[in-house]
Symmetry: C2
């Protein structure tokens, strides 16, 4: 590990999310072993990503056009906004393909531990979007962690004053394919309290 350039390469790779020093070493050696076949193409991809991809000014999605393909799509329901924590959640929604409205990337959820306050999230931008456009429903699709649920409540409070706006959140209960004896207490309790009439 002599050579400051190698050390810097490993350190910079290990800063990427989910990578420790050992994985960073492995990736660094892989790239150095195949400099022209791996390192060079990766540099080119990262460079063109830097040039071509940007954040959608409206919803926070990442795309090659701004506003993004979803915001620009005339076939999407412009009256519905689905609030998600991250772009990866948007991808999960889009993979299923059942949702036809717009999105709003919040940028995370409120967390005292991680120092994420309301200013770190795109809440003001969301409120302006609702004010300036004719929105009839806001769907809060945040995680059901402690942080996600707090965020859901805080945003719901802020949207209370809007007339003619329905604010919903995802249903909570047993996941499809879930077995009752594996459920945690909270989920079982929630599913029981929200039970639905069958007959």
């Amino acid at each position: 590990m002599d050579g400051s350039a190698i050390e810097k390469l490993i350190t910079d790779i290990s800063k990427l999310p989910g990578l420790g020093r050992r994985s960073a070493q492995r990736i660094a050696l892989f790239l150095l072993k195949n400099k022209d076949k791996s390192l060079l193409p990766l540099i080119q991809t990262l460079e063109s990503s830097h040039k071509l991809i940007s954040e959608c000014a409206k919803c926070g999605n990442v795309d090659m056009i701004n506003p993004c393909n979803i915001c620009k799509n005339l076939n999407r329901d412009k009256k519905s906004i689905c609030i998600i924590e991250d772009v990866s959640d948007l991808w999960t929604f889009e993979r299923t393909g059942f949702y036809k409205g717009l999105y709003h990337v919040l940028g995370g959820s409120l967390s005292a531990i991680n120092g994420v306050g309301i200013e770190e999230l795109t809440v003001t931008k969301l409120i302006n979007r609702i004010k300036e456009n004719e929105i009839s429903e806001v769907i809060l699709a945040l995680s059901t962690t402690m942080e996600g649920q707090t965020t859901t409540h805080v945003i719901a409070d802020k949207l209370e004053s809007f007339k003619n706006l329905t604010v919903t959140r995802l249903a909570q209960g047993i996941p499809i394919g879930g077995e009752v004896h594996y459920l945690d207490e909270n989920t079982l309790n929630t599913a029981f309290q929200s039970r639905k009439k069958v007959i």
Copy 2:
């Protein structure tokens, strides 16, 4: 995941060793979210790595000079060569600091499944190094997997004809800090067969 540049970014990242598609997505979003603070510095590091770091023509180490700092170091014992599978093994040796000789990076171990034959490894280069230099000991420090042990035997066979050359391999037995009741049968058997006289 609209936008071919984003798809390409994720695909290229997922080609790195140890990364699946989910981790690649996470890293891609991290880079795109902090384009100037993360993506740009990473591009610069990769570019300077491509420019500055190369493989040592003698031993196969990676370094900013060629021959590398270890091969060039006058204080190292030039008569001893330690054979390792990969540069990361060299780093492990160097972290401990007890070994003062030279290295030879083999580039893996023989594996029928992975299609690694003797030509894929730097065995010919090793033999030439031994022929052209005054080497008194070759230490085979390969893994004790099936592949590593086969490779050790094949290389030992090839080095048999050299006069005045000692060929050794790492001792096999209970790892330090190891508990006997957790040992696998092979290790226990090896450790028992190679037991040492205490008194």
